[in-house]
Symmetry: C2
Subunit: 291 residues, 2 copies
């Protein structure tokens, strides 16, 4: 994985968006010999011996379970069970271990299922009128049984960025991070701002850093629960930092050799880097010319 192909990307799948409204075609695909159902235990994927996603025949599906149509891969229509308990004891820790070794395209496919199952479970009622909603579009929407309003899966855009000054980049530390971990700063894009404006606002809010220029680098989907991570590098006016203590407990400016050492797993490096499947890792590799 590098800046051009961050984690959760590289999936080769025909989402066949044009079939989603054709309930009869979806039923045909689900009945096909080659149809496959993603194996999940709660929200966790059950992996094969070689660490790939594993699949059941669609005939294993329990009668009352709604189907999510993921798309067509080669000859196989792929589905996930939509009616699914989405509770997780410790989603981050459990999944982050699996994701260290899962191929990025498998992670992306599982990520679609995860994002949509959680979205369905949190949108059983209509925001507009409070009546119950039911799935439609083969799992890619919900329709209100009261007012008829249609609701679509939510994707929240988030900017994530390295501030750069004098050949060093700024990393921050959140209190929830494992020991020694530092990573790129990040925040949700708000209504009424561009990507570049969100980057500048977040760096100012979280670290008191004034931005003079923003370069987009790459992006990735992030299924915890459904973000679009937009990776940027921002030029900073100076290396003075004033942390917002409710967001970050510490920060560090690192140079290219320190980033290279950290990404190589060198224990003498000044920080533990973000995991390889996170776009913060790809951003650091890109900045240090390692991709």
């Amino acid at each position: 994985m590098n800046a051009r192909t961050p984690g959760f990307t590289g999936l080769s799948l025909d989402r066949a968006d044009n079939l989603r409204m054709a309930a009869d075609r979806i039923a045909e695909l689900a009945a096909a010999e080659q149809a496959r159902l993603m194996r999940l235990a709660g929200m966790e994927p059950l992996l094969s011996e070689d660490g790939r996603l594993s699949w059941d025949s669609i005939r294993e599906l329990e009668e009352e379970t709604e189907l999510l149509f993921l798309g067509i891969s080669g000859e196989s229509p792929l589905f996930a069970p939509l009616s699914q308990n989405d509770s997780e004891a410790n989603p981050a820790r459990m999944m982050f271990t699996l994701l260290e070794t899962m191929p990025a395209e498998d992670a992306a496919l599982w990520g679609i299922a995860r994002s949509l199952i959680i979205w369905h479970n949190r949108n059983g009622f209509c925001g507009n009128c409070g009546a119950t909603t039911v799935p439609f579009r083969a799992g890619w929407g919900r329709r209100c049984t009261g007012c008829g309003a249609e609701h679509f899966p939510r994707v929240d855009p988030v900017v994530i960025m390295l501030a750069e000054h004098d050949d060093r980049v700024l990393l921050g530390r959140q209190p929830v991070f494992p020991p020694r971990r530092f990573s790129a700063l990040a925040g949700f894009v708000e209504p009424g701002e561009s990507i570049e404006e969100a980057v500048a606002r977040e760096l100012k809010e979280e670290a008191g850093v004034v931005t003079t220029q923003v370069r987009y680098i790459s992006s990735q989907p992030w299924p915890f629960p459904g973000q679009l991570m937009i990776g940027c590098i921002a030029s900073a006016e100076s290396d003075e930092v004033q942390l917002e203590p409710t967001e970050l407990e510490d920060s560090i400016w690192v140079d290219r050799s320190e980033v290279a050492a950290a990404l190589a797993g060198d224990e003498a490096a000044p920080f533990l880097p973000p995991p390889p499947f996170a776009i913060a890792h790809s951003l650091l590799a890109h900045w240090a010319d390692l991709d």
Copy 2:
């Protein structure tokens, strides 16, 4: 406006995110002499004689109206009336005329109010349990009176792109467009895909075009009702086009001189361009080296 400063960007406002949870501080700001309330008629801004947004003293506010805290501009805390009828007879046509002459930063400020008012009106009930919700965070969220779930304003990421081949770019025509209008193709980013993957998918779905490379150019917020428009240029493998007729009724490949003529308002140009405040316009100006 050019690719670096598309419409709806360039707003200089301290959103003062850290104050939103401090209800007493927000009340102080609203009581200040310099506090200002955006003048709206329905969702339409009431403009001053010089075409700028106009503002009331906060004392004009009706007792029962909830306030949205926009932020602080210079010495003035800015607010908008949150409890507002968001019905519009013909939002696009009415506003698109005003937006032709409104400064981009005023459009951005009005856009925040528009996106949030509509979001509040569509989220009076909790998706999780169906109970009623009430505003909190100075208008930047709603909290459920039943299960306590917190809900935050939605921003939908959308990719909008020119496909480029052999020094020409592809534009498409939707049936709802005014006569002769062609514009960039666009579509919502779905769960489980990056910006680059969404660009490639949409070009394939809508026009049968195979993408070999994607370059990010710029972005803008779009308050109809709340999108983040992500502008890209994609390299196309060929200029063969197969339109999806439910999406586009026509398409056209145009060269730089044709784009320049269209953006200059030349009636002999082969198409009517998108309006100046739309990022499709900025993308065309950027591609034709006019910005």
